[in-house]
Amino acid sequence: MTVVERREVALVDLLDRLLAGGVVITGDITLRIADVDLVRIDLNALISSVNQQVPSPFEELL
């Protein structure tokens, strides 16, 4: 086995970058979602939705 494996990109890795990275553009008056701290709010929401289906064995990490 090697460290480098070609797999489908994991969603969490994607979200690390797409919700916390990338250029943030504010300035469009109609849609200012950049004002919302998406990462914290939505990852927490996601984690709780995931937890409802699969209880986490690592509760203490949350």
Binding site: D13, G22, I47, N51
Partner: protein, 267 residues
């Protein structure tokens, strides 16, 4: 009547190669290139019903929607990285129409130029370090599974276990720090992401390092080999490499010449 909004994936310098004809973006629409002021915004049309502020807030809590949108966004940015060095925008950056996109380009022209210069020919590599889960609970003594003789025995045993766990955790942190130092030396910049929650990542072990490194394409092979060589260094520790990514983690707001690197653990 259905109205469309403009979803912007990335901003690039003009590039000669056309996008693959079969490339599809968010919601299945083909991305188009919008040239303005010597820059190119890569855009596609998305339904207003899905991307107005209210709908978007609701959608972002829907894991399936978020996953599909994130993958479509990444698909376009990935395609761009094969022909140029794109400056990726944050997920769900949406404008009313092309003229709003043009105005945004004009307003941010200098930022874009500076970032595109800095990122030109660079890619991002993700490196994560995990403390592998124990195959069996750490029970050094063979008799340990027997009922503790007394409350005091029980407490002592619990203390030993948590001590052993703490020791492993510290080992993993030491390894992660030393690996990070070596990688940061080969990278032009790095960024610490918060460790991933295993409930969300669904991978075994405890994530102790979740870092991104900005590396010139030309030095990527060397960087990957360096990560690869570490795999047998520490038992009980797993290293995962992802990439190459467009430089998402290095496209953030950074006023001044020096990118901020103070986030996450110290060097």
């Amino acid at each position: 009547m259905t109205t469309g909004l403009r979803y912007v994936y990335a901003v690039c310098r003009p590039f000669g190669t056309p996008l693959q004809a079969e490339l599809r973006g968010v919601g299945g629409a083909p991305p188009a290139l919008l040239h303005h002021h010597g820059l190119v915004a890569v855009v596609s049309t998305v339904p207003e019903a899905d991307f107005c502020e209210e709908a978007l807030k609701a959608h972002l809590e829907d894991l399936d929607w978020l996953a599909a949108t994130a993958r479509a966004h990444q698909g376009v940015v990935d395609a761009l990285t094969t022909v140029t060095t794109p400056l990726p925008l944050r997920l769900a950056t949406v404008f009313r129409d092309d003229s709003a996109v043009r105005m945004m380009i004009e307003a941010r022209e200098e930022d874009f130029g500076r970032l595109l210069d800095r990122l030109h020919g660079r890619v991002e590599w993700g490196v994560k370090v995990y403390l592998e889960p124990e195959p069996e609970p750490a029970e050094p003594e063979p008799a340990a599974t027997a009922r503790p003789a007394s409350g005091r025995d029980y407490l002592r045993r619990r203390r030993q276990q948590s001590h052993a766990q703490e020791e492993k955790w510290q080992q993993a942190e030491r390894f992660a720090r030393s690996l990070h130092e070596r990688l940061a030396e080969r990278a032009e910049n790095f960024r610490m992401h918060p460790p991933q929650n295993s409930a969300l990542s669904k991978v075994p072990g405890r994530n102790v390092l979740n870092a991104a490194y900005l590396v010139p394409r030309a030095h990527s092979e060397e960087f990957v080999e360096l990560v690869d060589r570490t795999k047998d260094e520490a038992p009980g520790i797993r290293v995962e490499l992802t990439g190459p990514w467009a430089a998402y983690s290095f496209s953030g707001e950074e006023s001044g010449a020096e990118p901020s690197v103070e986030s996450g653990e110290g060097r």
